[in-house]
């Protein structure tokens, strides 16, 4: 088994509390499913959209992050899978797709 990082990009906030609650419940169910099948290595952490970017030799600090807010990474999870194809397949259950977001699936480089 190899390790893969899911990076959650974009995805819109729900408009009201009832809706956010439903979305959250879907995520929890998805995570539980990954866990019960033995794919969950580390649930990971959500990331605050506000941030700073430090860049270049001059170490210029700018308010972050990024040109396109729809691409901002909102969190990550570490999973285990047979190969990249299976990891990508696993990501398809993520509720982020309901809200126009994306999952970036990246293999962790092995020694």
């Amino acid at each position: 088994m190899s390790e893969f990082l899911f990076l959650y990009r974009g995805g819109q906030r729900a408009s009201d509390a009832a809706e956010s609650d439903k979305v959250m419940q879907k995520w929890v169910a998805w995570m539980e499913d990954l866990g019960s099948k033995g794919h969950l290595k580390d649930r990971g952490q959500p990331l605050d959209p506000a941030g700073k970017v430090v860049r270049g030799k001059q170490k210029v600090v700018t308010d972050g992050p990024f040109p396109e807010s729809k691409d901002v990474v909102g969190g990550y999870t570490l999973v285990t899978a047979r190969d990249l194809a299976q990891a990508a397949e696993l990501s398809k259950g993520c509720p982020i797709f309901d809200t126009d977001g994306a999952v970036e699936v990246r293999p962790v480089m092995e020694m």
Partner: protein, 420 residues
Amino acid sequence: MVEEPLYRRESGRMIAALTRIFGIHNLALAEDVAQDAFCRALEIWRLRGVPDNPAAWLMTAAKRRAIDVLRRERTARRFAPDLGRLHESEWTLVPTLDAMFEPSAIKDDQLRMMFSCCSPRISEEAQIALILHLLCGFSVGEIAAAFLSSHAAIEKRITRAKHALAQSSGLFDLADRDLPKRLASVQRSLYLLFNEGYHGASPESSVRAELCREAIRLGALLADHPSTSTPATLALCALMVLNASRLAARVDALGNLNALADQDRSLWDKALIERGIELLDRSAIGDELSEYHIEAAISSVHARSCGAAETDWKKIASLYDLLIRAKPSPVVALNRAIAYGHAEGPERGLAEIAAIDDISRLESYPFYHAALGEFELRRGESTRAREHFDSARKVARNAAERRFLTQRADACAAKSGASV
């Protein structure tokens, strides 16, 4: 009843506590901070899982956000005047906020908010919408759905009411001299909120149950506080709990209404009946006999009887005699007439209906025609009964009522067919 979603109760608690801290003039800020705390919590929970005590977690999140806001904006904004300068010093800021987020403090804040929403400067309709929005976490869309009103109309009503609220000098003080008068308005709003759920416009039974549940929850807050736990409050709580015990039997799985006589009494919630009767007993102190006492007593007679035929209609009729004096209205008069009809026969019922003052005001009330239909049917006049049910159907206010009344009209047809 189904379990209440977390945001319902917690949003009301957060907004009440935050409004107390920021001051009523910063109501919008309090709402934003509560909303933000909730959304952040959900974003964390979706990856990390829901904690064991999500309610406590949310309140801690709201407190931290409040501390951030007070630190960041203490020079730019004016906060609650009764907070004094406590938020200005790091020595007092955190302990002050810790105390303000104690569960008992938050209960008081919810009561203050409820009393503030029932200001005489806010219309009765708007009071209820505002209570649902600020204390029960209902979105504008959910309120519009519950009242079968347009989103725009409810939004306007709430915006206007919030504006009036934010203009007031502060949250209502529970030690205020005006407390008894304001308490009566609060009781009335909860009564109307409950009835909206019980009889109201929305055909969707889950919304109705939620309205009833919220009214009962807020009523319990009143009943828990020494300043507001009056006999009338306890009687109101008894009334709501007793009526709610029949909610599950009142509407069947298809959303059809069941008349009291046809309800499956095994579906009545025995725990609620017990609680209602206990509340009614507790309300019988002092010499105050409010309309809530009388209505709760009527409801308790139904709750205690094993079937429609075994109901003590004479007692119900005599309670209606009291109620019509305390709260004269054509609908109360109609219900009184129905009770007499059950107690002494359909002729008496019809005579009492004919004697109602202002009877024209009942023309658009479907259950006026339905009552005439029931009594005519009972004395064998099925053709006349059918005409009354047809008139009732024409003024039905929703699909469930229409189906119910069509069914009754068909029953008359079956009877007259059988007798030929």
